[in-house]
Symmetry: C2
Subunit: 301 residues, 2 copies
Amino acid sequence: MSAVHEATVLAGAPLAQEIREGVRRRIDALRARNVTPGLAVVTVGEPPSGNPYVRAKCRAAESLGARATVTRLPATIDEAGLREALHALGRDPATHGVILQLPLPAPLREERHLEDIPAEKDVDGVHPLNVGRWVNGLPAHRPATPLGVVALLRRHAGDLSGKRVVIVGRSRIVGRPLSVFLSERKEGLNATVTLCHSGTRDLASHTREADILVVAMGKRAAITADHVRPGAIVVDVGIHVVENPQPGGRKYEGDVDFESVRRVASAVTPVPGGVGPLTVAMLLSNLADAAERAAGAGPAA
Amino acid sequence: MSAVHEATVLAGAPLAQEIREGVRRRIDALRARNVTPGLAVVTVGEPPSGNPYVRAKCRAAESLGARATVTRLPATIDEAGLREALHALGRDPATHGVILQLPLPAPLREERHLEDIPAEKDVDGVHPLNVGRWVNGLPAHRPATPLGVVALLRRHAGDLSGKRVVIVGRSRIVGRPLSVFLSERKEGLNATVTLCHSGTRDLASHTREADILVVAMGKRAAITADHVRPGAIVVDVGIHVVENPQPGGRKYEGDVDFESVRRVASAVTPVPGGVGPLTVAMLLSNLADAAERAAGAGPAA
């Protein structure tokens, strides 16, 4: 009788903590020069109870010595009104990073606002000028979640050169940029990437080939042991709120069926506590880049 | 004894001719409004005999009624000098499209000049603002060669949705943009794409999975029958000059070993006469877009 195999659980918190400590030192140096990095989050039609993701970003920024403000716009605001609110933050010298919190309520459309935040304050890395620069391997703000996934994979798997990576999901902020970052011709990256999505036929035939499988589908527990090659590393970017009949309230699940996949994979990220903390840490790193650049110091954004 | 299988030869000229006829009509309409589309090609350190690719682009533009000019800069020009030459063409109202012919002689570096041509005149589709827009599925100048490959595949293979595409080569003007275009969530596209490159291990294990294989490696005859799944469609973007002992001078070969691959594939592009004519046709289409936009008419670039 063989022992039941169980994968390493890739918690993101320890690495996120290291990254945050580095950001804290950079913010301390900026504050010593009388520059306090300022993060502005814009929400549209936020419920009265607030948005837990927005709260998490603001708390994290403040915990490292940055300022954070939230601009709450009503769900009834029109395209021109949202544009003007973003432009105002773009002009504000005390604001170094601006986030437009997604999703937007209909009929607003995210792609109509991608150029409304100046590229240098676009800490989500979605302004076309930033996207075009990172696609070309040039310095630019890059989306935080794929930066976090790259950091976690580099820490856990070392050199990714020559690895077979399969990414499921082609979103603007996760799948697409991650496919670019991992296949860059750079030391430690240089992987061979397949980008799967809702139009992919026989998904498992692709995912079973992966040394590294990254799932950002937005579908609860869609990836099971049958999709995973024995020994693969599995990164779960999905997060879904699940009703929990037990006292204590909410429970979260990812796009990966954790209990089945952990018996096949060599390593798998948990939800929550996997990629999430790294996303926030990388966002704060982007904010420090932006503030340093505005102050004429440190790495260019 | 079975008959020897031979693939369909996918000549690009007929489709290129159709595209050029469409561009000709658009240029006629512009000229009727006293707008003559102007293409400017900048070469650095061109040999006295000239550059055949530059000649081909200019001749093609002129054959459709556009103007074409070549600015020949010496190989000794520095970064600032090249930048100023590009900026001057950017300011010239008679110039609607500007091409910086590659490769540049050392120590000049292409990536230092990607933003020196205004995005609206960047008919090669490499300015970061254009790249970021097409990555996001928005209207923008797109690189001509991958546009040509997409057109050829759509014509020959119809709906590409769900197809397995393998691209070999991750260049700025072919492999990388093609990987984005083919995996877009759009009618007729929506393919599952794997991007291989010089860091890929066991290349044939990837390419043999492809329904559609696009090769842009820059390595003569590197892809043989062993790399190709029986019945696959193979597109060869490479072009290499081969010494020809016969009278008549030069001979060309691609990245694909045509004679071996044609016995396995269902269809394969020849070199020359495959993708090349489509690249030129798509470049002219980009020029027409730019001139229409400058004239305040027709599709936006």
